[in-house]
Structures are given as structure tokens and as C-alpha cells.
Amino acid sequence: MPPSGDLRGQDPASPSTVLICDDEEVMRALVRAVLEGEDYAIAEARDGDESLELIRRLRPDLVILDMMMPGRSGLEVLKEIRGDPELAGTPVIMLTARAQASDREAVSRAGADRYLPKPFHLADLAAAVGELRGGRQA
């Protein structure tokens, strides 16, 4: 266990924090609607820099990351997360309209836990969130 005493997902009393990173308001609204009704604390970021800032500040239990955002791209944000020992354990779902094979490979290489190309089934997103809320899986 890290010395900071990371208790994410281990305390059933405190809700998991999910950070939604997307430059499109309508997409953030959709993801938020999917998570509605579950016990999540939801935060939103509108570009790459804001995403990274909120990840560092809020230490979310799950990040849902868009790929094409102004400033840092989702991919760059992901690489920062995985390169930072304090953040590396954060589960990340990549939600992106970049759906070519090369994009999928890049995302997987960068260390995303899930890759959901748009358009996606809400159930798939909900399932991925449910699986990852307890932390990264092997």
C-alpha cells in the first residue's frame, strides 16, 4: 500500500469520484446522464490541461477521457497519468471518436484500461465504469 494511505473504492461510505474529460458539452452531459442515479461524485474538465489539473487535485477514482481536446490531447493526458507514480494507478476509460486501428493501438500502448469508440452503447460504458470503480485491474 502506498504510504499516502490510498483508500479509494475501499470505503463504501464515501462515493467514488469520476472525472469526465471532454471538450463537447453534449458528450459530458451524456456521460453524466449515464452515471446519474449511481452513487458517484462527478467532476468535469473541458480540455487536456484542465483534465490534468483536476486529476492531480481531485485524485478521481476513475477518469473518462476524450481523445481530441484542445490543449493536451487525451492521449497526452493519459501518458502524463501513467508517467506519474502518484497517479499511475488511476483507472482510465478512453472514450473517443478516433476509431481507427492505429488509434486503438496508440490508446492501448498508452495504458488505457478501456477503449470505447464513439458511438458507444450506454450499457458498455456503465459496465466499464462499474468494473473499474474498484481500481485498476491486472
Binding site: 471538450d23 463537447e24 453534449v26 452531459a29 451524456l30 480540455d47 484542445p70 471518436a97 469508440p117
Partner: protein
Amino acid sequence: VNRIADILIVEDSPTQAALLSHLLERSGHRVRVAGNGQEALAALRERASDLVITDVVMPEMDGYELCEAIKSDETLGEVPVILLTSLSDPQDVIRSLQCGADNFIRKPYDERYLLSRISNILTSRELREGGKLQVGLAVYLAGDRHFITSERQQILDFLLSTYEEVAQINEELAAKNAELEARQAELEAERERAQELVNVNRAVLDAGTDCIALVDIEGKPFLNNAAFRRLLGEFPGLTLEGSLAENVAAVSAVASDPEGFRSFCHPLLEDPEFEGQYEFELRDIRRWLRLATMPVRDASSALIGRIIVLREVTAEREAERLKTDLIATVSHELRTPLASVLGFAELLLARELDEATSRRYVETIADQAKRLTGLVNDFLDLQRIEEGAFGLTPEPLDLGDILREEVELFSSQFTAHVLTLDLPEEPLPMMGEPNRMSQVVANLLSNAIKYSPEGGPVDVSAREDNGLIEVAVRDQGLGIPDSQQEQVFTKFFRVDSTDTRQIGGTGLGLALCRQIIEAHGGEIGFQSAEGEGSTFWFRLPREPAAASRSGE
């Protein structure tokens, strides 16, 4: 008139004897053949002939000796003797006269000439039957004194035939000379044709845009064309005068992928039969070249070297890249609104929602569907433009109205940006297609907003100047780097930098704007500085008639 005669041929070569016999027999003469001088004398003693034709060069007894023997023989002396001689030595004439020969025939002989000579001899012999006069003559030839004791008529005949012979040789020489001259002219013409062919080939080589070079079997360059030399001119460091191996090293030093270039060239250097193609980029100038090479053979299919053709494929590469980018862009642009439409539809179907939420979702679906429609329309427009089917149905309109509508629409949608509009008080009358004019203004506003990701003012102004209406849309956004300004109106082009990479768009908007403005008889342009923003403007002819007509 051909006189039939008995002729004795003395010839040591059976082939020559057979040839001559055949010729004489064909003309009706009767022929006997003797293989040497003794046989000839025996044959004559057995039965006289009308004529003896003897080869000069024979073993044991040569033609001269045979002739002397015949002439000194009491019974045979009257038989005319013709010597077959090559007449290569002036002394031959003297030898012929001394041995008392009646005539000679030069080898190789002309058949027609031989036959007429035989006929003359036979006639002349009849004429000089009777008055014979033996003379003794001392003659000098080539410094030597010779004594000739032939009959006068015989000498005269002989000398005349010699003269005749010389005349014939002269004739032959003239013919030979004419032949040589003709051959010379032919060669000259051939040379000219060859030169012409060289010139034509040179023109063909030089007119092409492919860079062509030929190297010999050792790899040394021996021919190249104008395009090739122009290409070299663009690389001052690259002379390509050395061997193929040296040139491969020189080019790989300036290639973006030196290792790849070298490994392509390896078989090219090792195997004279190698054929292949390879595309490579020149690192510093970012230009792509396609190299094609194959062996060159001579007329007998022997390898004489190799041809190397270089063609610049930068434009093709760029088009390919734009197409690939376009596919990725279209995919991305379609997927985002599709995800919203499908996502909110799923929510509507799966959940019990209050009326306000349902309504909000349905409105979102409608907005996103509109966005999809706009995208599809852009593509269709572009396709129509490309097919040349871009027709306008202009009507009188006030451009001021269109500017007011669009600015109002965008102000309500993009609250992070402050849009201002500066219009003159008078209307801006013109002939145009209202939808198309709205499309241009909307595209320019949308770009100004998209490329000002931090928010910031977008100022729209219009003024009238000298019969033209000029509209400008100014933002204080990211601006366009100098290096990319040339391509701004190119379809599918999108400004690329770390700041703009994430900004969506089809890259069709400005290409469409230019088509529309130009179709209205106007022009479109921009000023931009990276980091300071851009001003896009267009000018269209003002049509006062449009205002009065619209006022009717």
C-alpha cells in the same frame, strides 16, 4: 557474229578451268583443257586449236614459257595465244610481248569482255594471214631495256588491247569511284538520320518532367536529361558525377530514411539485372521522390548499364495524406454527433424521465442531427463543385440582412465569445443566392470562433467602397502560421499545430467559401499572424439595381 572456234584452255586449277570451259561452251565454242604446259603442247601437236588461252602462273612451265614454246614451234606458231594474267606488274606487258602472246585477259575477267576479245583475236588472225613482218624492237620500260621480235601486227594488236584494257580499267575505276561517292553520300545521309534521331530522342528526354539518368555497366553516368540536371540544381551539394555507389551514398545522406534507401539500393549495386521502385523523402526540403530503375541492353541484348528515373511525388504523397486525414476527420466528425444522438435516444428509451429532461434530450438529438446534416451537406456541396455542377440562382438581396441574421445566430450559440457587427446605415444591395451567402458568413464566423478556443472577440464589419461591398471577419485567436497560409483555401486543409490539432472541422468550409464567392464574381482573402488572430474578408460587386428591384 559469233565465230565458233576450237579453244584449248591451259589452267592448273581445275575449278578455274571448269568455269572458263563452261563460259566458252555456253557461247558455242569447242573446248579442250590441259592441266599444264606439256599437256598443252602435246594436245596441240595431236590436233591444232584455233586459240590457246593459258594461265600465266603455273608450276614447271608458266604461261610465258608455254607461249614461247608454241610460237617457236614450226607447226604450232600460227595459233594465237591469250594469256590470263593479273597484270599486276608493268613488266607483265613486256613479258607478254616478248613471249609473242597475241593478247591477254586480265584476271578476274569480265565474261562479256572475254568473249568479245576472243572474237576479235579470231577475226584479226584471219586479217593478218599473209604479209608478216618480223621486226626487232628495243623498248625501255621502267628503266630496263627489252628486245621484242613479234610481228608488227601482233604487236599492234597487243598494244591496242593493252590500251583497251587500260580504258576498261579506267572505266571500272570511275564506276568504283561513283560507287564510293554514292556510298559516302549514303553514309552521310545515315549519319544525318542518326543525328536527327539523337536530336529527337534528346528533345523527348528533355521535354519530360521525369528525371532520367543512365549509367554504364561500371555505374558511371553517361547520359541524363534536363529535368535531372534541374533536380541536381536544387541540391547544390549533389553533383552525382561519381559512380553509382558514390551517388547512392550521397543521396542516402540527404534522405529522411538513409537506412531504407541504402537497403533498397543494395541489390541495385550488386545485381546488374535488378529492377525496382522505391519512394523516399529528402530530409531537409521535405520532398518525395520515386526512384525506378532497370537494366539497359544493347542491340544484341547484352547489358550496357542501367536507367534511373526519378519523379517527384510530393503532391501525390500530400494528396494521399490529405485523403487519409480526411477519412479520419470524417470518421471523427460523424462519430461525435452520432454518439450523442444514439446515446440520448437510448436514455429516452431506457429510462423513466420527467418531461423537462425528455424534452432537453430530444432537443439535443435534434441539434446533433442538424450537425450531421450540415456535415453531409458540406460533402455534397464539395462533390457538386468537383463535378462542375455548382450553379447559382441569384436574386436581389441585402447582404446587411444576412450579416445581422448570422451574427445573431452565432451570438446566441457561442456565449463564450463576444460578437460585434459594424454595418453602414445604408443597405448593401447585391445579386446573390441567399443560402450560399449565409453559408459563407456562417463558415467564416464558425472558423473565427473555433480558432479562438480561449473565447475572445469576433468582429464583423462591412463597408462599401468604389462599387464593391467588402466584409471582414476578425478574430484574435490562434492565427495561421506563415508556412501554412498558402494552403488555407485548399480543400481538406486544416491548420495544424499543437494548439489547433484538436479543433474539429472537415477542412471544406473555406474551400466552399471561395467557390461561392468566386461564383458571385467576388474575391476572398485573409491576413493572419500566428498567435495574433486572423481577418478573413471577401469583396462582392454592389448592385444598386438589386436594391430598387427588391424595393418594388
